[in-house]
């Protein structure tokens, strides 16, 4: 029997029971628990980490749960195919079949609803809609006041569904029709006590955050989720000083995945350079640390003492980590 590099108490075995084509680049996967026990309740905005065995490579990718938070007989995730990515989404799209079994984590929520808000203003770009699908379901169940503004290239498949469920509370802006999200007007026209939530591509996220800041929004009222996929790079080696082993990191692999593949149970949460959980001490290096995270400060990036192995890489002769 193959051994798995996860603690059994923290992962849940599920079966793929349905795969739905949402658009030409998005598929939705429906998971049901193998043991028939209810899945944990979760909050809007939560994600699970999906563990995939892709040939010799074990991948762990985070995906927002898009099924409603009250539902415990299944979870659904929507995955956008990234043809130039590391291969996780390609595996999900091309290899995963109905009937396959895999492991998922307990839900983790790094993008929760702030229940102090009198109103929730949700702004999404493209696949950044996914955390808002569960969030809107929860807000509606709680009878909270919210509106969604979604910017998309074209009709990516979610629009009809959102319109059907939420009517006028969802507004859509299609690039292919020359429509632009009226950000300045939205930010200027909100009642006191409104909280802003943003998820989308890097450029859009930065645009919304800067605009909100410039418009005088208090930072406590602004929430965002930045999911960064680990970038591809050149292969390198890392010496893990505590475990006393050398790990090879391939071009398509993250440092964290390579450490896990070596059988080491390293801490992690978002796997996207945002939460700080995987922070690891750099003991020494001869080369260049390629920081890609949003967690460490600029000074810390320059200092060469810490690295976030979920998204950051290395180029050079030798890297020694305290792990």
């Amino acid at each position: 029997m193959a051994t798995k590099a996860h603690a059994p108490t923290t992962m849940i075995e599920v079966e793929v029971v349905a795969i739905t084509v949402v658009s030409d680049i998005i598929k939705r996967f429906r998971f049901e628990p193998v043991d028939g026990q209810p899945l944990p309740v979760f909050g809007g905005g939560a994600h699970v980490v999906v563990e995939m065995q892709d040939g010799d490579t074990q991948r762990r990718n985070p995906y927002s749960i898009v099924s409603p938070p009250g539902t415990t007989d299944h979870y659904a995730v929507s995955v956008r195919r990234d043809d130039v990515g590391r291969g996780g989404s390609l595996y999900m799209h091309n290899s995963l079949q109905v009937g396959d079994r895999l492991f998922i984590s307990h839900p983790v929520n790094l993008f929760p609803i702030d229940h102090r808000a009198r109103k929730h203003l949700l702004i999404a770009g493209g696949i950044g809609i996914t955390p808002f699908l569960s969030m809107m379901a929860q807000l509606e169940a709680e009878e909270s006041h919210f509106e969604l503004h979604l910017s998309v290239r074209s009709d990516g498949g979610f629009l009809d569904e959102i319109h059907e469920h939420y009517g006028k509370r969802g507004s859509f802006y299609r690039d292919d029709r020359g429509e632009v999200l009226p950000l300045a007007a939205l930010l200027a026209g909100q009642p006191l006590g409104t909280h802003l939530y943003v998820c989308g591509p890097e450029g859009m996220l930065n645009w919304v955050l800067k605009s909100a800041h410039d418009a005088g929004w208090p930072s406590q009222n602004v929430h965002y989720e930045r999911f960064l996929a680990p970038p591809i790079g050149t292969p390198y080696e890392v010496l893990l000083a505590v475990s006393n082993i050398t790990v090879k990191v391939s071009a398509q692999q993250s440092m964290l995945e390579a450490i896990e593949a070596a059988g080491i149970d390293a801490p992690y949460m978002c796997r996207g350079g945002a939460c700080g959980q995987c922070e690891t001490k750099v003991l020494s290096f001869d080369g260049e640390l390629l920081h890609n995270d949003h967690f460490l400060t600029d000074d810390e990036h320059a200092g060469g003492q810490k690295i976030m192995p979920c998204v950051s890489r290395f180029q050079g002769r030798e890297l020694v980590l305290e792990r």
Binding site: T9, P40, V41, F42, V108, H115, A141, E142, Q220, M269
Partner: protein, 346 residues
Amino acid sequence: MTIEFNNETFRGDFTFSNSQRAIERFPFPFHEDKYMYAVNLEPHVAFRPGSVFEQPFDVDEHYVGEMNDRALVLNEDPLRCQSLPHMNIAGWDLLELIMTSKAASYPQWFELHQDGDRWHWINRPLGIDDTFTFMDNATLPYGPMEYILRQTQGDFAVLDQRENNLWMDAGMITTQADWSLDFDLGMNFMEWHGPVPLAHEMGIFDRALKFLLNVRQGQPARRLNWTMTVNPRLDTSPENYHKWGSDRMTVNADNVGELMHLRVELQSFWRLPRSNALVFPIRCFLISLQDLATVPKWGRRFHRVIRDLPNELADYKGLTITRPYVIEYMSQFDDGAETSPGIFAD
């Protein structure tokens, strides 16, 4: 397993007592012959059948007595239970967590029947049989947090998580070691820990906060904390200091074994699902020194811990006046023999 619930008081005539079984399962907090602060956190998983670590929310022989005492405290001072408006969802999360846990742990006492949002809850020890609609406050006699915590041993702080900090925005605090929910309400983690000596300088709170912010759903954690109390009094609150503050003046060499109690908190940490709040139960266990000393290992070790405690910590642990009596009394149980590692009796 059957337990008879004690008919006992934690005030006035102080009829509280521990049975032999309660003494044996007491969560003695010292794993070695000395004590210093530590972020001594471990996963809150089932451990040692019969121990207080076996169930997510332990129920013992003091359950009914403690709930009666809680009702008295709340009657006199309703501000011991407060919940800011944005914490209502967290209250329902907590009610669900405790009801499902207790029904699974102790089916002879607690039953939960769920039919969609229609829930039926039976609590036999307290004679409660209620039907309500989940998430509808109007269908319960109290708010969801107060309702379930009037039926659950231990204090509870319900912490909102935002801005990389934890905020004391709700709680039920009636068995506290001299701190006040009404005073701390709305404070963040660093603010409410302000009065603790030494630990800030040691970086304890920075590390603890980082850990707590990352506690995940389905992976609760726990730790033990301790202090000393004169008489088996649960309500040693600042609000009622005038009722218990002078108790320490009644301790002398003859009654120290009977009056002085080691007060241990089994603290646990849980991530709640819908609210993403962190709930922090603080379950209090009391034992008199004379009962503690019936376990030879604990008698020896406790003597050494108190004798060698730094003065700042002795003050903080409520030992300023009574320490000489405690050391003298406990010394008779310390024959100098070596003690085994770990907290459990040999």
